[in-house]
Structure formats: structure tokens, C-alpha cells
Amino acid sequence: MTSLAPFVIFFVGAALVAVTQGVLRSVILLTIPIVGAWNLYAMADGTTTVVNLFDYELTIVRLDRLSLLFGYLFHLATLIGVIYALHVKDRVQQVSSIIYAGSALGAVFAGDLITLFAFWELLAVSSVFLILARRTERSMRAGMRYLIIQVLSGVILLTGALIHIHQTGSIAFDYIGLTGLASWLIFIAFGIKCAFPFLHNWLTDAYPEATPTGTVFLSAFTTKVAVYALARAYPGTELLVYIGGAMAMFPIFFAVIENDLRRVLAYSLINQVGFMVCGIGIGTALAINGAVSHAFNDVVFKGLLFMTMGAVLHRTGKMNGSELGGLYRSMPWTTGFCIVGAASISAFPLFSGFVSKSMVMVAALEEGHPIIWLALLFASAGVFHHAGIKIPFFAFFAHDSGIRCKEAPRNMLLAMALAAVICIFNGSYPWVLYSMLPMPVEYAPYTISHVLTQSQLLFFSALAFCWLKLAGIYPPELPGVNIDVEWSYRKLVSSIFARLAPLGIAAHRSVFDRWRRWLDQFFTQIYRHHGPYGILARTWRTGSMAMWTAILLATYLLVYYLSH
């Protein structure tokens, strides 16, 4: 039988969603991921689909164990997200979430850099509507900042890809490794989407501003596509070990003092991606398996946690820890699902995090990174502290906020139940997940030592929370904003421009003229170095046109943003 490229089903589905309504639209939404998964299942291992575009042979589908696992994961995440959002009557959100999921599939099955770039940008453009759909002033601004940074990542990827293609003569998207300018540009582009330290703030800025259902989709795709891309192009790159360690560590400090509970989860998302990045950096079979299986589990348990918080936001209209509390009385089911998600992210035995996170940690020790291992251990205790305890405690327990609301809608409960079942299933019976991993698995998660040490770590972390709380040392939930890297572009740059404004428009113009001259010189230099000869030169010019367009777009967005 013939099978379709996975993203095609989603894009056609999105078109159908756009023109239907009511029950029919819900049925189509549910059908998309199911038909998609069936189509994927029917595809033979090693399938490639090639399409000719101008002089290029684009590999729009490359099926191997790595891409297949992410493929299934994204179908599953779409199904859960669609069920969760069934009550939503907003066509824009429904269409964009399906295009967004389809773009994620397009990106992980892309066999060449041009296809990857196309889906990379489509991910940005389609997902921003899930933020804008909140329809508040805050979400509009956060959405624009998100779009600028995501488009910038695409621009950098395109620049790096064009130089890489020019140098190697191949458009294939395979192992790249950090070797020169092109590889660094691609690395940084991946790093932006992956939320590397200092490049991370778009995530904690935008995700908490999205709609209750939109955040569930957002948390599943963008960062995991980046994790996939890193696993494909930079496995065993030592720098990633340290970047991953830093990513696992620093967000937990912000998470402890953050008041917006969905922002706490956004920080903890970066913390979990840190484990994956670290695993990719270590690069052994165990570490890569750990990174990939943790990505799988993280999509489900982080999605579950975002779903429980989305349900709270949906019912109460509030998301700050300082305003919530005691909701277990009104939302017992949501509370239970939140605890399952919390146990999974904290890696309690029998819950999903337990069988994946430890692979990365064992690999770190095996490959001689004891300091990184300690950092990851610290992050493991920390994640229990802020995601495992803080989230359920301040939303559902703590003091009684007096809020009495209805339990979450049935479709939300069903989606949460599905995610919770997967969390427990993967945690208790990890062998199905293990059988899908890219490398053969020789790891046994359920040894007495592992169960005991992990339990000790978590019990005593809980004890610390308990003691700090009873002794009155634990910082109370307070409304406020915590300054992060975003300060540099939300305050510093704006204030510089504000100071420039009185100097008149001429000053602005001279600055922009200088930039343009500088860019012109930059491209002249590139032409001089790489030469206008050979068959690739033609495509380079087309590419540079595309790049100029992208830069103009990015500049336009920047000017738009700064002038508001």
C-alpha cells in the first residue's frame, strides 16, 4: 500500500477543520492523529520519500528508529491535546494547533536541511496563534516577542544551512558536529528552540501567556523538535554535556520563587530538557536512549501537569500560587492527575520519569562526569521540590483560598486520565517504550539500589520542604515579576531606543544605514571567500534572497515591537 508523508495528513486535516463546524469538526480533529498514526505504522522501516524541487532532491520523509519514535510521540501528544481542547470553539486555535503538530512531524521526518528549515519556520508561525488566541494585551506582546525570537532561530538556521550546503555540496540533514561557522550557526539555531541558557527566556515568557489548551500543545512540540535535531546532528558533542547540566540546574531556582504556576512549569520544562541535552552530549547508546526516552515521557507528564494547571485556569481564571489553594475540595480528579504528573516528573518508582532520567545520570558517571552527575542529582531533588511538591501543594492544598468551582470538563478529565495512564504504564512496564528506542537497551531500571536511592532522595527532599514550611523559612508565594535574561530586550534595548528617539529620526536612519552597509559588506565578503563559481553559486543567490527576506521580516518585527 502507499503511505503519505505524515505532515500531509495533518495539513489536509487542518484544512478540513477550517471549513467544518460542530460535531463534524470534533470528529475530524480526533481522526487526524489516529489516521496519522495508522499511516505511520504502515510505513516500512527505512522508507524515504523524495520530491524534486528545482535542482534539489528534497527528502521529505526519512524514517528510521529515531524519527519514528518522535513521530509516534507527536501523534500521541496531538491526540491528548485534541481531546483536552474539544470544548474549545475557537477555529483559529484548532487549525493552528493541527498545523503546528503537522510542522513538528514535518521537521522530525525531514531528511534534508531545506525541508527542515521550512518546517522549522512553520512551527514558529503556526504556534504563535496559540499565544495570541488568549486575546489579551499581555499575550499579544508576549506572542510578538516569541515570534521574533523563533523567526530569528529560523534565519540563523537558514544561514548556517546555506553555508553548510555550500561547503559540503550536500543538503542532507545528518551528523554535523561542531566544526566551523556553519555548524555553529545551526547549533545556535537549535539552541534557541531548545532553550539553552541565555536563549531560554522566550519559553518562560510566552508559554504561560498562551491559552489553557494552547500551552499543552506548545509544551509538546517546539523543544522536542529541537532535542530531536540535536540528537540527529550533534550527538557526543561535549559542550552539550555542560549546557545540559546548566539547563537542568538554573531554572529550578527561578521555579521556587515564581508565582505563576504555569511559569513554574515552563522553568521545569527547561530543567527536564537539560537532562535530554546532557544525554545527547554524552552520546553513548545508554545516554542517547535516556535522552530520547525522557523526551517521550516528558511530553506526556509535562503535558499532564500543564493540563491540570490549564483546568484550574479554565475553572477559576487564576494561575498565581498566591491566589490559589485548597482546590482539592472542588477538583478532586484534577488533583489526583496532577499528583500522578508530579510523581512522574519527580521520577518516583513506578512512574515514568524513573525509567528514563536515570539512564542519563548513570551514563554521566560511566563517562567520567561526576560533577555533572552531582548537578543532575541536585536538579532531580530540585525538580521534586518545585514541580513535584510546589505545583500540587499551592494549587490544590496549602491554605483554603475559598475558591469553590466545578471539576474540570469531561473532555479535559479524559485527556488527563489518558496521560496519567501512560505515565504509570511507562513507569511500571517500560519495556514497550524501551523496544522503540534508537539503540538496543541493556539498562535495568528496577534494581533494589536504584529504587532505594531514588526513594531516599525524594523522601528527604519532601522532608526538607516540610521542615522549611513548618519552620516558616519557605518563601511565601508573592505576586511579582522575577527578572531574567528577558530584561535585556524588554527593558534595556527599549530604554536605549527611547533615549535615541529625541535625537530625531535622522539618528535612527543613520544607524540603520550603517547596519545595511555593514550587512552589504558582510555578504560581499562571503561572496569573495566562497566565490561565485560552480553550480551552487546559483542556489546561493536564491538562498541569499531568502535570507534577506527573512532578515527583513525579523527587522520589521523588531522595529514593530520597539515602536510599541
Binding site: E137, R138, R141, I252, F253, F254, V256, I257, Y328, R329, S330, V362, L365, E366, P370, W373, L374, L377, F378, A381, G382, H385, F397, R404, C405, K406, T447, I448, S449, L452, T453, Q454, S455, Q456, L457, L458, F459, F460, S461, A462, L463, A464, F465, C466, W467, L468, L470, I473, Y474, P475, L478, P479, G480, V481, N482, I483, D484, R490, K491
Partner: protein, 83 residues
């Protein structure tokens, strides 16, 4: 509102106490198991008695104390960015 003010499980402070005591018990038990079970270790630090217990407790206390100090430096009003 939907429901009458019926008593819920943690409205009774004794139940909160019970949860805390249960935590003390499992902490104590897991520490004692360190004496009985010969753990597999990949690194010498791990071999110390109660390593994971002490590490978990200390890590969380350090985390919270540092985060509290951070608040003094980085916390601003809700409308800091003007939106």
C-alpha cells in the same frame, strides 16, 4: 455555588499531622534500609552511609535559601514591564 460546605479530609488538622508523621516514618525506614541493603555504587561518594538522604535534604534546603536570596535581587512589581 455547586457544593455545600462539607468537611474535607485536610480540614481536620489531625489528618495533616498524620501525613507528616507518615513522611517521618518512611524517611526513617529508608535510611535504616541503607544499613541492611548493600547498594550497587558507580562512584565512591555514593557509598557513604545515607548519601542520598543527606544529599536530598541538603540540596533542597540550599536551593530554597539561595532562591530566597535571589528574590531580594531580581524580584520586581507585577507591572514592571508595563503590561
Amino acid at each position: 455555588m455547586a457544593e455545600p460546605d462539607k468537611k474535607h479530609v485536610f480540614d481536620d488538622p489531625r489528618n495533616v499531622k498524620r501525613v507528616i508523621y507518615a513522611l517521618y516514618v518512611v524517611c526513617g525506614l529508608s535510611l535504616l534500609l541503607d544499613l541492611v541493603i548493600h547498594r550497587h555504587v558507580d562512584h565512591p561518594w555514593e557509598a557513604m552511609f545515607g548519601f542520598y538522604c543527606v544529599f536530598g535534604f541538603v540540596a533542597c534546603v540550599v536551593l530554597v535559601l539561595i532562591a530566597k536570596e535571589m528574590r531580594k535581587v531580581i524580584m520586581r512589581g507585577e507591572d514592571y514591564y508595563g503590561d
